[in-house]
Symmetry: C2
Subunit: 254 residues, 2 copies
C-alpha cells in the first residue's frame, strides 16, 4: 500500500495503529503547537535530538508539508487534543480544531526501522501480535527550554539476547528515526515500573531469554506539552502515525 | 592554550584569525539575530544542517551559553555588524551593539577538524601560511524559510590528489562541524570564479597536483542575513571564531 492510499483510508475513518503499514515508507509523529511556541518547540527538539528528530515543519495554519502532501487534519488514523496541559479528547479527525496559528512538526518514528530489524532476523513482537507498540514515560528528564520540559518517552521491543547487538546496530543506522536504543535491560533503571502497563499503546509479552530494549520515542513532545501546561496543542494518538512520502532508506546512514 | 586563555586575549584586544588556535578544542561561528527572527534562524539552520549545524543557543539578550562561558560581546577576536541587509562595520567588540533582544546562535566550524586532518597527514595550507582560510560565496542556494534565504558559503582547502579520499573520510567523521566536503574539484561548478579572490578570508596557493576541496561554512547564516535584508544582526568576522569549552573529539562520530 502506498502512503497516499493509507492516508485515504484514514481519511475515510479507519482508526488503527500504523505499525507494519506501508512497509518501506517513513512514519512520523505529529505535534502542532501555537505559532507563539514554535521556537520553543523547535529548540526543544534540537536539544533532545534522539527523541525529537524533526523530519519536516509546516507553515503556520497549514495542514500539509513537503513530505506529507495529504491533509494533516484528517489523514492520520487518530489524534489527541491538548488544552492547558491536559489531554482532553481523542479524535478521528481535527478539522474543526486546527486553529489558524498552529504550526505542525513531523518527528521521526521508530516504526521506520522495523522493516530493517525484520530483515536482519530480529523479531518485532507487536507486529507478530498485531497490536500497537508499548510506550512508557521514563524518569529521564529531557533537556528543557525556557517554557518546555518533560520526561523522555520510550518505545519497547523485547529482543532475544543473542540478537541484542544486531538490534542495536541495525536501528543505530537510522539516527533520524531515533537510532539505537537509549536503554537495554532493567526497566526500573529508567523509571519504568511495570512493562505490563504501558503509558501508551499495548503491552506485549517478554519471553524467557528476551531482553527489553527501549528506544527514544516521538511521543516525547506530547509529554512535554502535558508537563509544561501548554494551552493548546494537537498530536497524533500514540502509535497512530502520519505516513510520509519518504522512503525509510532515506533515513539510513552508511 | 585553553579556550578561556584565548578568550581573555581576544577580550584584551588581540584581533587575529583563529585557525590553529587552541588545538583540540571546538571553534564556532556566531550569528545573533533579534528575538523576532529566532525561529526563522533556527529553522533555516535545521533546513541547511551541513552549513548551519547548531552547537548552542543562548537566551534572548544573554552573552554567554553553556559551551561558551565567556562574554560573546568581547571574547571573539572580531565582529561584523549588519543593518538592513548590509555589513556596516567590523568591530573588535560589540558591547554597545548587543541589544537586549538579540538571540545568539553558535554554529559549527570546520577549523574543528583541522587537527584530525593534520594527524591523518593531510596538509592544511592556510595553517602552513599563517593566514585565514579562504571562503567563497557559491551559486548553490540554501533551502529557504519564509523570510531567510541566501547562498551557501564554503571554505576551501587544497589537498594533494592522493589525499583527497583521506580528507573526505576524516572530515566526514565530524558531521556537526560541516563534515565531508560539499564539492571536490572545479570551482566553477559551484559558481566560484576565481580562487585567488575569496569573498572572505585570505587566498592560498593551490599547487600542481592539488585539488581544491570545498566545505560548507558557518558564515552561511551571515550571507542569508545579507541576502534577506535582515534589519539587525551581529556575526563574527569570518575566520575570527568563538572558541568553546568543548573538545573537537566531542563532535567526532565513529
Amino acid at each position: 500500500m502506498s502512503p497516499a492510499q493509507a492516508r485515504e483510508r484514514f481519511r475515510s475513518g479507519e482508526r488503527v495503529p500504523t505499525a507494519g503499514w506501508c512497509r518501506g515508507w517513513t512514519q512520523a509523529n505529529l505535534i502542532a503547537v501555537p505559532k507563539r511556541l514554535r521556537y520553543e518547540l523547535l529548540l526543544f527538539a534540537h536539544r533532545n535530538p534522539q527523541a525529537c528528530p524533526v523530519l519536516d515543519v509546516g507553515e503556520p495554519g497549514s495542514w500539509s508539508t513537503r513530505l506529507f502532501p495529504g491533509d494533516l487534519r484528517t489523514d492520520l488514523p487518530a489524534y489527541r487534543l491538548y488544552r492547558d496541559g491536559a489531554a482532553v479528547a481523542d479524535l478521528g479527525e481535527v478539522t474543526g480544531e486546527w486553529r489558524a496559528d498552529l504550526v505542525p512538526f513531523l518527528i521521526g518514528c521508530s516504526f521506520t526501522f522495523e522493516r530493517a530489524l525484520l530483515a536482519a532476523g530480529v523479531p518485532v513482537r507487536h507486529l507478530e501480535a498485531g497490536v500497537n507498540v508499548p510506550m512508557y514515560v521514563t524518569s529521564i528528564p529531557c533537556e528543557a527550554t525556557g517554557s518546555l520540559s518533560g520526561p523522555l518517552v520510550v518505545s519497547m521491543r523485547p529482543v532475544p539476547e543473542h540478537l541484542v547487538t544486531t538490534a542495536v546496530e541495525v536501528s543505530g543506522r537510522y539516527p533520524m528515526v531515533h537510532g539505537a536504543p537509549v536503554h537495554v535491560g532493567d526497566p526500573g533503571a529508567i523509571g519504568v515500573r511495570d512493562l505490563a502497563r504501558p503509558d501508551y499503546g499495548d503491552a506485549v509479552e517478554v519471553r524467557p531469554g528476551e531482553v527489553p530494549l527501549f528506544w527514544a520515542c516521538g511521543v516525547t513532545p506530547q509529554a512535554a506539552v502535558l508537563a509544561s501546561g501548554v494551552d493548546y496543542a494537537i498530536g497524533h494518538l500514540p502509535g497512530h502515525m502520519a505516513i510520509l512520502d519518504a522512503r525509510d532508506d532515506d533515513y539510513r546512514v552508511a
